[in-house]
């Protein structure tokens, strides 16, 4: 684990966030190492997305401190492409690279969409839209990639290809990744570390040292799956 010796990409301390009198995050501490893939799971409403939005600086009502080293990229569950700009422009917008068009084209090629650069977003399938969204995040060469349930709305087959794509991109660029998901299998397939969010803090943490790609029936994963599910309050 050479990654842990470096300074962390994310360091969040004493994070708190309440909506009304309901505390969603409470004194939460989190560190993510350089190049580490962290999956964050939790029941619906447990504050997963709130935490991610806090790290992205999108939530002004958060207390505590959160620092992110360098650039970060984000992919939302709804892909969030600008419908009246072409696929290429969606990736290029806001890029401060010397040749933003070239960088955007390269990012689209990496996700296999170089043929769709001039298409309108409305003509893309759900999976294609998410790939554009990933390309947009990656074109910024981020140290940290924030993924907010980006594959939640996709069908099972597309989701598996997206997992492969994410791993391939990670191997090439090696950003730290925080993946928010409600899918335990997704977390097990991708993450170095799985965090379970409960009562506003990190209630459980498991490291997975297995090589990727992983077989979902690996004994260690099978055991961890039932462990995580029971942490989530689901008994099998």
């Amino acid at each position: 684990m050479s990654a842990t010796t470096q300074a962390p990409v994310v360091r969040a301390e004493h994070l708190g966030r309440s909506f009304g009198d309901r505390a969603v995050l409470q004194d939460l501490n989190l560190e993510i190492a350089d190049g580490e893939i962290v999956a964050l799971i939790g029941r619906s409403g447990s504050g997963k997305s709130t935490l991610l939005r806090a790290l992205a600086g999108l939530d002004k009502g958060v207390s505590g401190s959160a620092t992110v080293e360098g650039q970060f990229g984000i992919a939302f569950q709804d892909a969030r492409l600008i419908p009246w700009r072409s696929v290429l422009d969606n990736v290029r917008l806001g890029l401060r690279a010397a040749d933003s068009t070239k960088a955007a084209r390269a990012a689209l090629a990496e996700v296999g969409l170089e043929a769709h650069t001039d298409a309108w977003p409305s003509t893309l399938s759900g999976g294609e839209a998410q790939r554009v969204s990933l390309a947009r995040a990656l074109a910024r060469e981020p140290r940290l990639l924030l993924l907010d349930e980006p594959f939640g709305a996709l069908d099972a087959l597309t989701r598996i290809t997206m997992h492969e794509l994410v791993l391939r991109l990670w191997q090439r660029h090696h950003p730290a990744i925080l993946l928010v998901t409600h899918d335990v299998d997704e977390a097990l397939a991708l993450a170095d570390r799985v965090l379970v969010l409960g009562s506003g803090r990190i209630a459980h943490e498991s490291a997975i040292a297995l090589e990727r790609p992983r077989h979902r029936d690996h004994p260690e994963l099978v055991e961890l799956r039932s462990r995580l599910l029971s942490e989530l309050g689901v008994s099998l």
Partner: protein, 285 residues
């Protein structure tokens, strides 16, 4: 040589426009474009048939053929009572263009200021909401008292008619831009001008175009009303003169020109919509 040059240049420009629109656009325009002509043409035929079967007296309702020949006379001869049709049309169009440009320009500026800032909304929106409820044509006598009987009150009436619907819709359009796209703009670190150019303005465009169409409609109405009060040129003046000379044919010519102008501006807005909103899948197919 020099006489043909402007002509050929005009044709060239037209050709470029058509080429840029692309073959698909041209084909599409032809289909529904033609379809939209069917009902007006049927209406014209029915109108002519009323005359053929002598259902209504010609004095009350001249047939399209008579209206057409009257129009031809008005174009070719400069009658002291009416002037020429093209002269009247020019005067009316000039009023419309100046008035509409003024009203639309102010509307868009106010919508931007109100749409993009809270103080702008609090400053301008109440005033416009107040003006909105004043009956537009009730202002005609007031405008005459204030601005006399020249061009100014007419142009201001048209401007005001254009202002209200365009402002309301452009403002609603800006405020209606999906908040998730505002958030995206934050995440992408867009500058203020990039945000305006790529997110806010195009996002507000569909609703603004609805406003444009509405405001064109009310502006034409305002033109008709304005022109019938103390004018000495324009289509409304022509109608007034014809009323005095009991020349129903001329009245119908002027009315027909109004309807054609209305149809033409509607066509222009449609063309604009098709180009500007091509990103909507429904319009692509």
């Amino acid at each position: 040589m020099s006489a043909t040059q402007p002509n050929s240049r005009a044709l060239g420009a037209l050709g470029v426009g058509a080429a840029a629109a692309g073959r698909a656009t041209r084909l599409r325009l032809r289909g529904p474009g033609l379809q939209r002509l069917i009902s007006p043409v049927v209406l014209l035929i029915l109108w002519q048939l009323i005359h053929v079967f002598n259902l209504v007296s010609v004095k009350k309702l001249p047939p399209p053929t008579t209206v057409l020949s009257t129009a031809w006379n008005l174009i070719t001869t400069n009658e002291p009572a009416y002037g020429t049709l093209q002269g009247a049309l020019g005067a009316s169009l000039e009023r419309m263009v100046i008035g509409f440009a003024l009203g639309a320009g102010v509307a868009l500026i106010l919508a931007l200021v109100s749409g993009l800032s809270r103080w702008g909304e609090n400053t301008f929106d109440p005033i416009l909401q107040m003006i909105r409820t004043v009956p537009l044509f009730g202002l005609v006598p007031v405008f005459i008292v204030w601005f006399g009987i020249g061009e100014l009150p007419k142009i201001l009436l048209i401007a005001l008619a254009a202002l209200i619907p365009l402002y309301l819709n452009a403002f609603a359009g800006i405020r209606g831009v999906d908040h998730r796209l505002w958030e995206l703009a934050d995440v992408l670190g867009l500058s203020r001008s990039e945000r305006l150019r790529h997110v806010i303005l195009p996002g507000a465009l569909p609703q603004t175009l609805v406003g444009l169409r509405l405001s064109l409609g009310t502006a034409w109405l305002a033109l008709v009303v304005a022109e019938q009060v103390n004018t000495n040129a324009g289509l409304g003046y022509m109608i007034n003169q014809a009323t005095q000379f009991l020349s129903n044919n001329v009245i119908f010519v002027a009315l027909a020109v109004y309807t054609i102008l209305g149809l033409a501006t509607d066509w222009l807005v449609r063309l604009l919509e098709r180009r500007a909103l091509a990103w909507r899948r429904g319009l692509l197919t």
